[in-house]
């Protein structure tokens, strides 16, 4: 980020880690829906604990009944999908506990859902959690933090408007 970008306030919108763990590139997700960016650009986190929080101030758009995914519309306009584990729709809600509902306004860091990380893994599911921007087309760039450990609330994505 250059000095002039800062001066002009073009540093972009920042989203923070909704789960704690290892940040990786979206291309490393073993599911083409995510790795090929069919749902949008983003990144993924290999969780080390089963707690999902809001990555920014936002409105819960869809809390999936199964608790394995949530979509949010951020106050900054980003449409964010957090998908906890791959193919976990098949668990039909088992091991997931929902803590927010459709239409609810949330603040950065508010608890959205919890899941039993070990139980989901024990059932043979990859617990990697992609965080994708469904309206990536509205942005000039979606920059991801990858290759490091992130704690809840650490910055993971920077979105720059066109």
């Amino acid at each position: 980020m250059g000095f002039f970008d800062k001066l002009l306030g073009k540093s972009g919108d920042v989203l923070c880690a909704p789960v704690a763990g290892t940040a990786v590139a979206i291309g490393e997700v073993n599911d083409p829906t995510f790795s090929q960016e069919i749902l949008g650009k983003g990144m993924a986190i290999r969780p080390k604990e089963g707690k999902v929080v809001a990555p920014c101030d936002a409105k819960v758009d869809i809390m999936f009944e199964t608790g394995h995914a949530v979509s949010l519309v951020a106050d900054c306009g980003a449409e964010i999908l957090i998908h906890v584990g791959l193919d976990t729709v098949n668990l039909k809600g088992k091991h997931y506990t929902v803590h927010a509902e459709n239409g609810q306004k949330v603040k950065k860091g508010d608890l959205l859902m919890e899941f039993d990380l070990d139980a989901v893994a024990a059932e043979g599911y990859d617990t990697i959690t992609p965080v994708v921007i469904c309206n990536s087309g509205d942005y000039a760039s979606v920059e991801a933090v990858t290759g490091k450990e992130v704690a809840l609330g650490d910055p993971i994505l920077t979105l720059k408007k066109k």
């Binding site: 069919i38 749902l39 995914a69 979509s71 999908l81 998908h83 469904c134 309206n135």
Partner: protein
């Protein structure tokens, strides 16, 4: 304007993956494409809107295409749904 209906066969309904693939398929056409359930309607080129339909197995979708390639869009999306949903 052309439209057709399709009843979802996938037991998991229109979840994230088929929603993403549907949007990708719809984005391949110049025509405006909407997908509707008995309870709502969405721009088929916007992922969040399509997911918001929360369309389930057994639900009837109405796909409407309007534009220069509406015929091809309808045919293409009909084939897509038959194969994926």
């Amino acid at each position: 304007m052309q439209s057709f209906t399709y009843v979802i066969r996938d037991p998991l309904g229109l979840h994230a993956r088929p929603a993403g693939l549907l949007v990708k398929a719809a984005a391949g056409y110049a025509s405006a494409v909407t997908v509707a359930t008995p309870s709502g309607k969405a721009d088929a080129k916007r992922i969040m809107a399509v997911m918001r339909l929360a369309a389930k197995q057994g639900m009837e979708l109405t796909v409407t295409c309007e534009g220069p390639d509406e015929e091809a869009a309808c045919a293409g999306l009909k084939a897509f749904l038959a194969e994926n949903l």
